[in-house]
Amino acid sequence: MAEKTNIVRVTNVTKVFKLGKIDVDALKGINLEISRGNYISIMGPSGSGKSTLFNMIGGLDKPTSGKVYIDEVDIAQLDAYELAWLRCRKIGYIFQTFNIIQVMTALENVTLPMIFAGMGNDAAVDKGMQLLELVGIGDRYSHKPFELSGGQQQRVAIARALANDPAIILADEPTGNLDLTTGEECIALLKRLSQERGVTVISATHDFKMLNVSDQVVWIRDGRVDKIEDREELSISIGQIGTKE
């Protein structure tokens, strides 16, 4: 953390959804700089635009105006192949609904991105097993998703997100479908991985359990950045939340 390099930079991003004749302003000019290796939480109430911002950063959707830079590359300039490559190698996605591919085993889910990246089958299987062990479900490698609990599925998803050693892990409400303890375990796992591997974790959430582990919290309200707090300032506002309740 000697020098500050921005892995993600978002400038003046707006997003308008057209619903028939009505325009929905989901994002109203977001500016954001995210440094490499940090654990970032994007916090905000439901409907505030977290998922929309997440999709912009992940190259899953295009902003109406403004730019998103990953590693100082404007992702609007990328063609379909480069975007696929970016999704495959640079970014790992984690979803609220886990999204383990139903017809594949845990191991096959983890190896798929490596196959896409051109890795040989044996190497991919070796690495897949290592990753499954890293997230603590090495013994479940041959299980299909429906044989796994929610927490276990999310662990498979985390292992899969790490498959090609991405620079960024994007997680949209990763604990949204998990109970309290399982959610906490997944958060701890993400935090540990971010520290051990220097991965930048960006997580959209309204789960306050995330606050403890975040290096930075971006509060979003109604499509705008409300405030950005670093770890040190955070304890104060958590204190405030505590006293308010």
Partner: protein, 232 residues
Amino acid sequence: MTQKTILSEMPNGTGRVQRQVVLPFLKSVEISFQSIKVRFFRSLITTMSLVLAVSFLSFINVSNDIANGMLATHDPDLRQSLIRSGYDIGAQDISVGSSAKQRWIVILSLLVCVVGIVNAQLMAVTERFREIGTMKCLGALDRFILRLFVLEAGMQGLAGAGIGALAGALFSLINAWLHFGTAAVRSISIANLLISIGIATGVGCLLSLLGVFYPALVAARMQPVEAMRVEH
């Protein structure tokens, strides 16, 4: 342009060639096969109309082969029994073809079958939005998805059409045996029988591929953001 040079200097991606995402052909065959196996019941329903239509086609063709075999024996009894069972054979005819009405019914049944396949495959695509979106988030290109669907349909087509063609031929042989006796069955030319079964299988495969073409395009064009959809 400068943007692209920066990207190519990113770790792991020193050259353009290395920055391609790939899905080896054998791996796609493996994934498609597994997908059919796991969703066996679904695949069965998709293939059912194909099996029926192809077996009908095969039945008609093999029945004609049998009739021609019977005529080729120059046995007046067999000829008489053919005429009695409704074949329109003139005094000089030495072979029968399929009648216009037969052809019509076969074509109609094949058409209905294609529509059924398109319908079933479109439903399958809609059901699998999350899987397709997730694959795209993992780096799949449009053509990977297209290939997976086409391969699945090809395998389903081959299996379904093969079974249908054999069933239709068998049914036709049993039918001939019941109506005309063993002489009729023995007189059939094996080569013609095999050709009829082959044609029916081939037509079935083509129909299966034809039926999946549009649904596969829909699937391939699906956006990765679909994977994020939380509501049903």
